[in-house]
Amino acid sequence: MSTGLTTGTEQVLDSAESKRRGFTPATWALLVFGAVFIFAVLRVVTGANDIASSGALAATFGLAVPIALAGLGGLWSERAGVVNIGLEGMMILGTWFAAFFAYHWGPWAGLIGGIIGGLLGGFIHALATVVFGVDHIVSGVALNIIGVGIAKYLASRFFNGLPGGGPTQSPPLKKIPSITVPGLSDGLGTIERKHWFFVSDFAAVLRALVTDVSALTLIAIALFVATWWILWRTAFGLRLRSVGESPSAAESLGVNVYRYKFLAVLASGALAGLGGAFLTLVASNVYRDGQTGGRGYIGLAAMIFGNWRPGGLLAGSALFGYTDAIRLRGGDSVHALLLAIAVALVLVGIWQIVRKQRAIQGGVAIVVGLLVAWWFFAVDQVPGELAGTTPYVATLLVLAFASQRLRMPAADGQIYRKGGH
């Protein structure tokens, strides 16, 4: 039970699409502008000012970065062909170790601690999957169980009795410092508060980027760039990816498959652990039992969403972080988002019918879109319980419409045995 079923779904691969290797900077810029524009329209139409506020965007950062780091961990591991559903466990280990190190030796040591905790998880996963050839999902599930156990056990062993600590939480920790560009932040804030169409929205985006940005967020961004560079621009990365695409080919060319897989899973653990450290040292200042709240799984989803690429992963994490942020911040944002979803669904439906000649699928999309629109007009507010599901629904919806374009590394999830074919 290694790779899962593929089912008979036709994988419509526009070969132009599959050959397109990432976006150019210009495309990215266009995308960002387009997104800001859409939100500006939506904000003006619905009057839900928060959906494009710098606060919401800053919160998006806070919620997206740990997901993105976990997803980046998943990216490393899966690019080398090891499915990593154990990200959650690695993250949990990261939170505990980050707290332990930060309590004793300060926040920066805490980062190292998070990495060490994640590495521990990565090591276990690598040992099981790479060395012993255990099914990747099985190992991941076991790792998640064990990660919870280790963190809780260690917490009650080491945090209990410390001032402010207990069996389920660490003492308060010092946070990783954050950075604000003084003049710029205030100036942009002023523009943002004017609620001018587009201009204010753009100011909000910029402001979120220069206000109260944690050092670890910057590190995370650097790690994304580094990941892209290492995996797609260096010999090391080529070997690592080749191991995920065709391990037998890689081995026949003298690449030590086990070593690269092992390293990749270790890196995966380190990144997930760092994501855990973000939760303890940036998003809050304590370790708390259950703090990861399934973010490891979400990271995995974001990575698949992002088609196993750093840019896509970033978009996936941002989508998740954003929807989570606006619903947590409350107010009418989620309600406004309904309209966006409705419009998007109808557009997708039309596109499916007109361009792809898929009447049924398009029809379904349009009907669902109209239902959502009806809901938007029928209620003033989405009930809190349902608003909480926004990020999950959004992810599911987007996957439902995009996942046929996704292509995972060819040997992802396969157990590799040296010399065997």
Partner: protein, 346 residues
């Protein structure tokens, strides 16, 4: 063979909290030390001692009693995702170990306390936060609190202090108990200012209890409220409350603490943003229960810790609400007299 090394370990780890939370191997036989005849066992809700909130408040009362009367309590803590049978088993373990007074912290124990108490009529039980028929028994003291009344007062305080006429509430998990806090808070605020704008967010939905332990979400939610113009946010979110305080600090607004006087125990750098706290005197309830037992009186039946009984209150630490204290006390008197009836659900 390993007894000596472990006993030093456990006593050092217990030092901070002043009780034997991690009992050594000798206590396996559960022979409580000290001069009290009381043998007290406590079963915490998920989180247990050290949660800086609900369970800790109960622990404080327990510690006080233990210190004063000289007994050595035995503690056990619930784990995530367990069912009634597991809670029952925990209580039974304590019964088996010979404890005569068993305190169950949290409404989740309602059914199990009712059952185990019936089977063990010689053992005395106390349950916190439930006085339903489920947990009723001749040997059960049902200790409940009028969180809505306490919340009414801090709601009133918030409305009185709010310059924007816009306040917020962050609930940890959307359960009935926390709704009770919200209901009181909203009623109190509206009593002062019927037009006040009140935002309310719950961090998670049951059975996902992580909302009581996710400061990041608490901060995001409170951030949103402050940025949309609220200037005071009350939280009933356990460990996530730390995030609410951080957000208040950042926004230069106020936060209101819960359960204990958080201006005394929260992290030092955010204590100055805590306007007041809604006090839920679990410690008093636990202590009084044990004190009575020590004196030979076994409490049972419904014991309501409301405003009148001094079971809930608001804190004045920091002196931020000294100016409105007379007004609040006026409300207090009205609630005590029954003139104002505080709703307990939204």
């Amino acid at each position: 063979g390993c007894g000596s090394s472990t006993s030093t370990e456990s006593s050092s780890s217990a030092a901070g909290s002043g009780s034997a939370s991690a009992s050594s191997s000798e206590s396996t036989s559960a022979a409580p030390a000290g001069d009290s005849k009381l043998m007290v066992g406590i079963a915490y809700d998920v989180g247990g001692r050290g949660d800086q909130s609900f369970n800790d408040a109960a622990a404080a009362g327990l510690d006080k009693a233990a210190g004063e009367f000289g007994f050595k309590p035995q503690e056990a803590t619930a784990v995530n995702d367990e069912n009634d049978a597991a809670r029952e088993e925990r209580l039974n373990q304590l019964v088996d170990a010979g404890f005569t007074h068993i305190i169950a912290v949290g409404y989740a124990y309602a059914g199990s306390v009712g059952k185990v108490a019936k089977e063990n009529p010689d053992v005395h039980f106390a349950i916190i936060d439930d006085d339903s028929d489920d947990s009723k028994g001749d040997n059960v003291a049902q200790l409940t609190f009028a969180e809505n009344e306490g919340s009414f007062l801090v709601g009133a305080a918030a409305a009185l202090k709010s310059k924007a006429g816009h306040i917020g509430f962050v609930g940890g998990v959307n359960v009935q108990l926390i709704n009770k806090f919200e209901a009181g808070y909203v009623a109190g605020a509206k009593a002062v200012n019927p037009d006040i704008k009140i935002e309310s967010t719950y961090l998670t939905q049951p059975p996902d209890m992580s909302g009581f332990g996710d400061p990041a979400k608490g901060e995001t939610a409170a951030d949103g409220m402050f940025q949309k113009g609220a200037d005071i946010v009350y939280h009933a979110a356990g460990g996530s409350g730390g995030g609410v305080f951080a957000a208040a600090k950042k926004a230069k607004g106020w936060a209101i603490g819960v359960d204990k006087d958080q201006a005394l125990i929260a992290e030092p750098d955010v204590r100055d943003v805590i306007l007041t706290s809604m006090l839920k005197k679990l410690d008093v309830a636990v202590y009084e229960y044990l004190k009575a037992a020590q004196g030979g009186e076994e409490k049972s039946g419904k014991i309501v810790y409301d405003l009148k009984a001094g079971g809930v209150d608001y804190a004045t630490t920091g002196g931020h609400i000294d100016d409105i204290k007379p007004k609040l006390d006026e409300y207090k008197a009205k609630i005590v007299s029954g003139e104002i009836k505080v709703p307990d659900e939204m």
